[in-house]
């Protein structure tokens, strides 16, 4: 049942345990228990709404920054990455295979905000060899949701 509950919650974190129980043909109590356990086990880390982030001023500008790093003898990339992740401007941070090492997603109120974070904080950090900043221009899909309107086709109202 865990898998099913997780699937339903990833589609709609807002849904009540009672509604989930109806869908899975079980009781509300059982669903609540499983969810509690998933929360305790840190499988469910949090609940959060997917919103049109451009509505929030502090998220108006988003950039993806490719960072090349000189790994340290002890700890590799971790130390620098952990340090970077503490900045509130950084919304996600990944260690990547391929042409660069860290991918940093940065959000800010405007271009200046992001640029100054990169020039004053990020590129001056010990171990950072180079950065390449890509500003995001338009979103087509976010967290599995397609953001443009798809045409709805008329179907027959009733068919055998």
């Amino acid at each position: 049942m865990k898998q099913e509950i997780l699937r339903i919650l990833t589609e709609d974190a807002h849904i009540s345990a009672a509604r989930i129980a109806e869908r899975l043909d079980t009781t509300e109590k059982k669903v609540e228990k499983v969810i509690k356990q998933l929360e305790k086990d840190n499988v469910i880390i949090g609940y959060k709404a997917i919103i049109d982030e451009s509505i929030l001023p502090e998220n108006a500008v988003k950039a993806i920054i490719e960072v090349k790093v000189r790994p340290e003898r002890e700890g590799g990339f971790d130390k620098l990455a952990k340090r970077l992740s503490k900045f509130p401007e950084v919304s996600s941070l990944y260690l990547m295979s391929g042409g660069y090492d860290l991918q940093v997603v940065v959000k800010g109120e405007n271009l200046q905000d992001v640029a100054s974070f990169v020039s004053s904080k990020l590129s001056t950090m010990d171990g950072v060899i180079s950065t390449a900043t890509h500003f995001l221009l338009k979103k087509y899909k976010e967290s599995g949701k397609i953001l443009h309107e798809e045409e709805v086709n008329e179907r027959l109202k009733i068919t055998p």
């Binding site: 099913e4 179907r155 068919t159």
Partner: protein, 394 residues
């Protein structure tokens, strides 16, 4: 005009005698009304998975716009046979035991026409898909419905089948999971039906168009029972499981002589199924199974919800094991199926199909399809509940 001769009838007898049932009027009524929440649609509410649509577009771009072999693209037939082997445990040779058709609809038509001589009897489980009796009549056969009952979970009851057999019976048509009841066969029943078919030397058409949409343990295909493969045509298609109704692709697998006979009719009447749709179908079998499984899980959840809500509304409703239909019993309301459906439509703007659309055995029931969004299912069942309450107060 000269003489007293009555004017010649323009329409062939066996066509003009086909029932033009009252259901047409009901359908017309639904289609003229605005803001109806419909649980009356016998097709998936999902759009065909993108990867399948994309492959159809790609095939057009590559210039696949020709006829195919009459039997269908060999590459598609190979995929079909591979799939039937892995998922149904049935082995057929793609070269001569498989034909690709324009939907299961065409496969049904070909199969019946290939088998039936005028006056021979065809038995089938009823309530059933609306086409069955008409297809049989168009082939000059005699339809012999066997009523399936709620107390048997709408599975065909072997003794009822035995009683329907006469020396003229040639063919048995089965549809499990069933439209409109959602019934499936259990192993014991399937085995007994297979025995009866062998004993009486019947040919069998098994329409398993809903087979992927089954939510609990059920019997394997009737074609896999002893003595059955050589007398069974296995019909299947892409409309329901892959949400591909508009592509119009189905197929039949069975003994080479029967497939060859079907091929003759198909060759002269249809030539072949459209190549774009065949290409899409091939993609569905190669890479579409995950999408299909996802849709099935969604249907399962909707089924759980609709059954609970209908029972809470005071309509006795079995938990169907397959397809995407529920068939609640409405006799407690004192209305006929048609009255119930018409009044529900007029008073609450919810569309369900009267059980009698699926043959006289459907009286006392309506069919509600849960191939509708969860929100619509919840809203519609709330309205049905209001409607049933209003009847009790009246």
């Amino acid at each position: 005009m000269k003489g007293s001769k009555s004017p010649r009838k323009r329409v062939a007898e066996h066509i003009s005698s086909l029932p033009k049932s009252g259901i047409r009027d009901f359908f017309e009524l639904v289609n003229t009304m605005e803001d109806v929440i419909s649980l009356g649609i016998g097709e998936p509410d999902f759009i065909t998975p993108w990867r399948i649509r994309e492959n159809a577009v790609y095939s057009l771009e590559k210039g696949y716009t020709s006829y195919t072999s009459n039997l269908g693209l060999l590459s598609l037939r190979k995929e079909i046979c591979k799939y039937l082997k892995s998922d149904f445990g049935l082995s057929y040779a793609p070269e001569k035991e498989c034909i690709v058709t324009v939907g299961v609809s065409e496969a049904l038509d070909l199969a019946i026409r290939a088998i039936i001589n005028p006056g021979e009897e065809v038995i089938y489980n009823e309530p059933c898909y609306v086409s069955y009796p008409c297809e049989i009549k168009m082939a000059h056969g005699i339809p012999v419905p066997v009523k399936t009952r709620e107390e048997h979970q709408f599975a065909i009851f072997p003794n009822d089948l035995r009683k329907a057999i006469t020396p003229k019976t040639k063919l048995l048509m089965l549809n499990f999971p069933c439209n409109p009841t959602g019934a499936v066969l259990d192993d014991k029943t399937a085995a007994e039906i297979a025995e009866i078919a062998v004993e009486n030397d019947l040919l069998v058409i098994t329409d398993e168009i809903y087979s992927e949409l089954s939510y609990e343990k059920h019997a394997p295909s009737i074609a896999s029972y002893p003595g059955m493969k050589e007398r069974t045509l296995f019909l299947h298609g892409f409309s329901k499981a892959f949400a591909m109704t508009g592509f119009r692709i189905g197929y039949a697998c069975g003994p080479a002589d029967l497939i060859d006979a079907m091929m003759k009719i198909h060759q002269y009447s249809m030539l072949c199924a459209p190549i774009t749709a065949q290409k899409a179908a091939e993609e569905a079998l190669k890479h579409g199974k995950k999408d299909m499984a996802k849709m099935r899980e969604e249907y399962r959840e909707r089924r759980n919800v609709i059954v609970k809500k209908l029972n809470e509304a005071g309509l006795k409703c079995l938990m169907p094991k397959g397809a995407f239909y529920v068939f609640p019993n409405i006799t407690s309301t004192g209305l006929t199926s048609m009255e119930f459906a018409t009044r529900l439509l007029r008073e609450q703007k919810v569309a369900v199909v009267p059980g009698t659309a699926f043959g006289p055995s459907g009286e006392g029931y309506v069919r509600a399809a849960y191939a509708a969004s969860m929100e619509n299912i919840i809203e519609a069942t709330e309205k049905i509940s209001l409607f049933v309450k209003s009847l009790k107060q009246a």
